[in-house]
Amino acid sequence: MIRNHILVCGGTGCTSGKSKSILEKINNLIVENNLSGEVQTVMTGCFGLCALGPVVVVYPEGAFYSQVKESDVDEIISEHIIKGRIVKRLLYQETVKEGGDGVSSLNDTSFYKKQMRLALKNCGVINPENIDEYIAYDGYSALAKVLTEMTPQEVIDVIKTSGLRGRGGAGFPTGNKWQFAHDVLGDTKYVCCNADEGDPGAFMDRSVLEGDPHAVIEAMAIAGYAIGSNQGYVYIRAEYPIAVERLDIAIKQAKEYGLLGENIFGTDFSFDIEIRLGAGAFVCGEETALMTSIEGNRGEPRPRPPFPAVKGLFQKPTILNNVETYANIAQIILKGADWFRSIGTEKSKGTKVFAVGGKIQNTGLVEVPMGTTLRTIIEDIGGGIPNGKKFKAAQTGGPSGGCIPASHLDIAIDYENLLAIGSMMGSGGLIVMDEDTCMVDIAKFFLEFTVEESCGKCTPCRIGTKRLYELLEKVTKGKATEATLQEMEKLCYYIKDNSLCGLGQTAPNPVLSTLRYFKDEYLAHVNDKRCPAAVCKDLVSYSITDKCVGCTLCARKCPVSAITGKVKEKHMLDKEKCIKCGVCFENCKFKAISRG
């Protein structure tokens, strides 16, 4: 009988930290030590604390080992598994019990304490490649309940009452979407899943598919029953190889068990799912472009109406939901609409997963109830900004969203509040920026992304974003005037109002929100020809002051040998050679480098 479970994170983050070789080594040592009958290894999805990966957790002790290296595996096996002594030096610092054996619960650590994991409930708990484990945690019970006890309309009513809204960004009520598709007459309807997560820095959907693929499959089957569809498609980008592989395995297992296929649970309902790989175009996350791509055509959006619920994939009634939206469905069916309604704010129910990255201590995957403040996510869960730097802004919603300044850190996050301050929920990317970030440069970065990803079908987006980018470039090069800023703002609204799809309609948001909250930074670039964060290289110059004692450190650190001088004599900086990387400024112990 199994006495220990060793869980090794197999998410993309930990895998790039070699968690697969760690798992392999653990398996080898288990065989070597004749422990095969007593110890079981499980490869799981993401635990969330990616900054401390690779993660290995040993149960029943609940020991959470972080930043494990291959060379640590011997010690874990010989000490913990064979002798029962927890390897304290590898434990996640916050779980070490003072002056005693054992560990304190992971749920009491600051990273997990304020989280509420619904969409991620099985991530880091089950083996995503084993359907039995999903079933053990109530998997496919919701599908069974729906097929044997509920009518399609009752299913839609539960989802409507629950208040669930689309987690892809726009926040459209999921139940209403299902109702539209249900009400349209037609023999053939389709259920699609949008797994084309394209925002820079976002990895929520990938993590759900890597950690709990069956949750999405089950929810799609439920949606199929609700609207009267027998065929589902998951549109996922090929850049997510682990997610694609696990989803593929999960679909095969569900088919073997008859949980997909003909006459599921002995009823008249049949449902099948196919995977469609996307080539990674950002525009294919837009619903009409996504369906065009599934049809085998070039991924370009088309005007709405007709809406997909009326004429979608292959001109048939179609619903399209995001991965995270689906991850909530089975639980709502099992626990009821009232349970779900009890979580969150008045208009935004349930939880939201955020991929927190950038200048933050605990980079990782975080799920909190709607209405949690940005401050809680960044300071309590995220552990604040590293290296004692100051918080400057948080960017939500990726290239479609906006930058939120420190003055709005205490707003409760929900769909309406984020829109009101010029950002949006988006799919859940959350990039934290510190004082070293130039907000003009950030706006330029996101715009560069949309310029490249614009599909080119409509002119406001194709040409407008390019022109807007050029204006921003003028600002960062010190060639702009205040009139340029006015011109930019005008162009932003023009692009928003006239673009065909969501990509263009939201592309100016990063520019508008930084203009709104960080106008002074733009003005410093424009009027003083100065970049306050010293990021825009054309506006920065370095020189050596009389404080220089001739320690030679800067000369040795300079990557282009632009600094020369003798020991104990003041050094000289060749401005022609200088590439303005700032290495001398950061390294000087005597504050002898001036930056202006």
Binding site: M1, I2, R3, N4, H5, L7, E38, Q40, Y59, P60, E61, G62, I82, K83, G84, R85, D101, S105, L106, V125, D132, E133, I135, A136, Y137, D138, Y140, S141, A144, T148, Y257, G258, L259, N263, I264, F265, G266
Partner: protein, 122 residues
Amino acid sequence: MKSIEELKAIKARMQAEINTRDAVGNADTRIVVGMATCGIAAGARPVLNTFLEEIQNKRLQGVKVTQAGCLGMCKLEPMVEVYVPGKEKVTYVKVNSDIAKKIVADHIVNGKTISEYVITNS
């Protein structure tokens, strides 16, 4: 899958395995087996396995078996500590597989300490 019963059967079969994956909580009864070199040499491993088998056979819920390092009295190994929530810890010494079975049946299931195997002052 043609019926809900099939689904339930899989769930029941997996339950014992999944239980191991809950971290030990305050409400759990804990059986701690001394598994340092001294314990292993004195035969702690079969004892540990016996506990695990008995718990599975009797389908006991909320009982967790864990290991500990050297408990300090190597000549009395294999030693086993039993923590029942709300009660004093009981330490058994020189435990073998037969005694382990008795501990599960009498102490864990029926709540009776088996005094003849409990550590004494002498």
